[in-house]
C-alpha cells in the first residue's frame, strides 16, 4: 500500500490516545479504533498506525496487516470530493464500467488515485444497496442514480 509521510502534532497524538481510551485500549477493538481514527484523520498514515499500536499494545505489523486487509481503510488522503463508483452486479449489468471509464477519462486518473489538484479521488466500491438506481455513483455522501456516461460531465460540473 503506498503511503505518505506525516509528522503528528501533539494534539493529534492526544486525539489518537483519546480514541483508543474510548475503547478501553482493548486490542480486540482495533477495527473500531481504526474506523474512528480514519474518521478523524481522513486516512491512516503510518504514524497514526504506530501510535495506535503503541496504545493498544500490539505490534505495528499487526495493525498494518489489518489496515491492508480491509478495503475500507486507506493510507492515502482522499480527494476533497471522493468519487466512488458502485461496481456491484446490478450496476455492472447496467453499464457501470462505461461510467467508470468516463470518470477516468475526464479526470485523467486511475482507480485509487487522486487528481493533482487534490479535488477528486476515484475508487470503486461494492454494492451500496441502491440497485434500483443502478448504475450508482457516490460523491462524498451524495448518491447519484441512473448515471450514464454522458451525464458524468454534468455531475462533475456540480463540483467546479
Amino acid at each position: 500500500m503506498s503511503s505518505i509521510k506525516v509528522e503528528l502534532k501533539q494534539c493529534e497524538i492526544d486525539k489518537i490516545k483519546e480514541i483508543c481510551q474510548s475503547f478501553n485500549n482493548e486490542p480486540g477493538e482495533l477495527i473500531n479504533v481504526l474506523h474512528k481514527a480514519q474518521g478523524h484523520f481522513g486516512y491512516l498514515p503510518a504514524e497514526v498506525q504506530e501510535e495506535i499500536a503503541l496504545e493498544l499494545k500490539i505490534s505495528v505489523a499487526k495493525v498494518y496487516g489489518v489496515v491492508t486487509f480491509y478495503s475500507f481503510f486507506t493510507m492515502l488522503p482522499k480527494g476533497l470530493h471522493p468519487i466512488s463508483i458502485c461496481t456491484g452486479t446490478a450496476c455492472y449489468v447496467r453499464g457501470a464500467e462505461k461510467v467508470l471509464d468516463e470518470f477516468k477519462r475526464i479526470l485523467n486518473i486511475q482507480v485509487g488515485d487522486t487528481t493533482k489538484d487534490g479535488r477528486f479521488s476515484l475508487s470503486c466500491l461494492r454494492c451500496v444497496g441502491a440497485c434500483g438506481l443502478a448504475p450508482v455513483v457516490m460523491i462524498g455522501e451524495k448518491v447519484y442514480g441512473r448515471v450514464s456516461p454522458d451525464g458524468v460531465k454534468d455531475i462533475l460540473n456540480e463540483y467546479s
Binding site: 503510518a46 505490534s59 505489523a61 498494518y64
Partner: protein
C-alpha cells in the same frame, strides 16, 4: 484415554481422540505430503493454518476434500489419501503454488533443501498447466536476513515463529488475496524494524523466501588474499550439528573433522569461540558476584542479572524493555570478546597488524552477522569480527572446497585461543551458560571446590526452567528461558516485581544455540535438538578441565593482557588496549 477407530487407505487405525488425520496416517506408515504444516517439537506450538491445501485427502461422506493436518479423526472415518480425486487436487494445488513461484531453482539458496522443490519432485510435477501473473515484492536485505517474498508460499510459519514463539511481532500477514504476503509493517526493511535477527523465521521457511545473508564469498576472498592472516573461531553448537549437513546422524560430534576442514580451507589459525566463552564466564561470573554482594548489602535493584551472550536477545530487550537496560550483564558475547582478543592480543603476539588480520566466526546463528556489524564492535571502522557465517554456510564452503568431510582425520584447535573447558562447550545449549557460570561463581564465592560439576537441575528442553543452587548456605535462584516468548514472561515478572530469581539465562532460539537460525534445518524435530544437546554434554563430560576459571590460557590472558575481569563490557565498549 479415549481412542478413535478409523481406516486410512483400507488400514484399520486406532488413535487417541483429538489426533489429526495427518498424525494418524503417519502412525500407520502413510506419509501425507504437507507444506504449511509445522510442528515445533515438544513445544505446544503448531502451525496448521490449513492454508496450502497440499495435504487434502478424501473422507467418505464428506462433500469436499479434507486437509489432513487440521482435520481431527472421528469414529468410523474412512480416509483415502491417494484416490485420483485427491491426487488431482493435490497436484493442481501444487501447480498453482508453483505458478506463483520463480523457477530459478538452480541458483536458489534453498535448492536441495527446499520443501516446495521436494514436493514437486515427489509428486512428479513435470509441467505447469496454470501459468499467469506472479506476485512480486521488493527484495529486502538486512545485515543478517534476506527476504525474497516472490518465493513466499504463504505457509505463515515465519509469522508464527515471530509472533507466537518469539513474540517479536515484526511480521504479519499483509494485504489481501493474490497480493497477500508476510511482511514487516509498511513493508519496511527488516533493519528498520524491531527484528532481532534470531533467524527462526529463516529456520522454518520451507522455500528460499527467507535466507541468511551469505558471506561465504567474502570469506573465500579473504582466504585467497596472501596479505591477510585469517583467523577463525567456531561456536560451541556448530560441532554438534555440522555433521548433519554431510549425512551424519544428528548428535554426531565433528569437532576434530571441523577443525581439519577449516585448516584445509586455508584458515591460518583455527580457534575456538569456546575459549571466549570461558572468558565470558570470567567476566559475567565476576559481575554476578559483584552484584550479588551489593544485593546482599541491601541494594535489591542489583539482581537478577541476565545473561547477555545472545545478540538476538540483546536486541530484543533493547527494543522491548528499554527501561530495564541495567538488568542484563554488561559482558560482551563470546564472539565479540574473541574479536578484540584476536586482533589486539593475539595479532600483537604473532606480529601481525590489526588491519592485516581477518576474523571469521562460524556461528549457529544469524543474529551474530548483525552483532559483528554493530558500531560499538569496531575500531576505527575495522570490525572486531569481520565475517560471521552460519553452520550451513560453512558446510557449503566445505563442499565447494571438494572436501570429503566424513573422511577427514580429526585435528586439534590451535593454541592459545583454541583451548577451552567443558563449561564453555555447553554454552551451545539452553541452560549451559548458567551452568558454566554457576560452576565458576560457586567456587569463587564459597572458595570451596564443587563436589560435582554437573547440575542436572539446570538441564532439559522445557521452555522455562528454574532451580535453586546452594552457594554454601546461600540459596541462589536460577531461571532459564529459551525462545523469546518465554524470555518475555520472565522479563514481565521482573518488571512487575514478581521475579524471585537472582540470575537468569536467556537464549533467543528454542533449544538455545543448538536450535539457532543458522543451524542445519531441523524441521521442528526436537529429537534432533536433543541429540545435539546430548552431544554437547558428552563433549563437556570428556574434557579434562570443566570450569572456566581453570582454563590455563584464560588465566594467562588475564595475567599477560587483561588484568582483572570486567574489561569486556558491552555498553560503552572499551577496547583492551593497555
Amino acid at each position: 484415554m479415549e481412542t478413535i477407530k478409523l481406516t486410512i487407505d483400507n488400514k484399520p487405525v486406532e488413535v487417541p481422540k483429538g489426533t489429526s488425520i495427518l498424525h494418524a496416517a503417519k502412525g500407520a506408515g502413510i506419509h501425507i505430503p504437507t507444506l504449511c504444516f509445522f510442528k515445533l517439537g515438544d513445544m505446544p506450538i503448531e502451525n496448521r493454518p490449513g492454508g496450502c491445501r497440499v495435504c487434502v485427502v478424501e473422507v467418505q461422506g464428506r462433500r469436499n476434500l479434507a486437509p489432513a493436518c487440521v482435520t481431527d479423526v472421528t469414529e468410523g472415518m474412512v480416509v483415502k489419501t491417494h484416490t485420483i480425486r485427491a491426487l488431482n487436487a493435490r497436484k493442481t494445488v501444487l501447480e498453482l503454488i508453483l505458478s506463483d513461484h520463480p523457477t530459478d531453482c538452480l541458483v536458489c539458496a534453498k535448492s536441495g533443501n527446499c520443501e516446495l522443490q521436494t514436493l514437486a519432485q515427489d509428486m512428479g510435477i513435470r509441467k505447469l498447466h496454470y501459468e499467469g501473473e506472479q506476485s512480486h515484492y521488493r527484495e529486502d536485505t538486512s545485515p543478517a536476513i534476506i527476504r525474497d517474498m516472490d518465493k513466499c508460499v504463504r505457509c505463515r510459519r515465519c509469522e508464527m515463529m515471530c509472533n507466537d514463539v518469539q513474540t517479536v511481532g515484526v511480521l504479519s500477514g499483509i494485504n489481501r488475496g493474490f497480493m497477500s504476503v508476510v511482511s514487516p509493517a509498511f513493508e519496511m526493511n527488516l533493519d528498520h524494524s524491531v527484528c532481532t535477527y534470531c533467524g527462526q523465521c529463516v529456520a522454518v521457511c520451507p522455500t528460499g523466501a527467507l535466507t541468511e545473508v551469505d558471506h561465504t564469498n567474502a570469506v573465500i576472498r579473504a582466504l585467497a588474499d596472501p596479505s591477510k592472516t585469517v583467523v577463525v573461531q567456531t561456536a560451541p553448537a556448530v560441532r554438534a550439528a555440522l555433521g548433519e549437513e554431510f549425512g551424519l546422524k544428528p548428535g554426531t560430534l565433528v569437532t576434530g573433522k571441523m577443525v581439519a576442514a577449516l585448516r584445509q580451507l586455508g584458515f591460518d589459525y583455527v580457534f575456538d569461540t569456546d575459549f571466549a566463552a570461558d572468558l565470558t564466564i570470567m567476566e559475567e561470573g565476576t559481575e554476578l558476584l559483584n552484584r550479588l554482594t551489593q544485593f546482599l548489602a541491601g541494594d535489591k535493584t542489583k539482581l537478577p542479572i541476565l545473561t547477555s551472550c545472545c545478540p538476538a536477545w540483546v536486541k530484543f530487550f533493547e527494543h522491548q524493555f528499554p527501561e530495564m537496560m541495567d538488568i542484563p550483564s554488561t559482558a560482551k558475547s563470546p564472539q565479540q570478546m574473541f574479536g578484540p582478543i584476536a586482533k589486539e592480543y593475539f595479532a600483537k603476539k604473532i606480529g601481525v597488524e590489526r588491519k592485516d588480520m581477518v576474523v571469521v566466526s562460524i556461528m549457529p546463528c544469524l543474529a551474530k552477522k548483525y552483532e559483528c556489524s554493530r558500531d560499538e564492535f569496531s575500531h576505527n571502522g575495522s570490525p572486531d569480527v569481520d565475517y560471521s557465517i552460519s553452520t550451513r554456510e560453512l558446510a557449503n564452503l566445505i563442499k565447494q572446497a571438494n572436501l570429503e568431510f566424513d573422511a577427514l582425520a580429526d585435528e586439534d584447535f590451535d593454541k592459545p585461543l583454541g583451548e577451552s573447558t567443558g563449561a564453555s562447550v555447553i554454552f551451545g545449549t539452553t541452560g549451559g551458560v548458567i551452568e558454566a557460570a554457576v560452576r565458576t561463581a560457586y567456587e569463587l564465592h564459597t572458595g570451596n571446590k564443587l563436589p560435582k560439576v554437573d547440575f542436572e537441575e539446570l538441564r532439559g528442553l522445557a521452555g522455562i526452567r528454574s532451580a535453586t543452587i546452594d552457594f554454601g548456605g546461600l540459596p541462589i535462584n536460577i531461571g532459564i528461558a529459551h525462545g523469546l516468548g518465554n524470555a518475555r514472561k520472565l522479563l514481565e515478572d521482573i518488571r512487575e516485581g514478581k521475579s524471585t530469581f537472582h540470575a537468569i539465562e536467556i537464549m533467543a532460539c528454542p533449544g538455545g544455540c543448538i536450535g539457532g537460525g543458522g543451524q542445519p534445518l531441523h524441521h521442528g524435530d526436537f529429537s534432533i535438538l536433543k541429540a545435539r544437546q546430548e552431544a554437547l554434554y558428552r563433549e563437556d563430560a570428556g574434557k579434562p578441565i570443566r570450569k572456566s576459571h581453570e582454563n590455563p590460557f584464560i588465566i594467562e590472558l588475564y595475567k599477560e593482557f587483561l588484568g582483572k575481569p570486567l574489561k569486556l563490557i558491552y555498553i560503552n565498549p572499551s577496547h583492551p588496549e593497555e
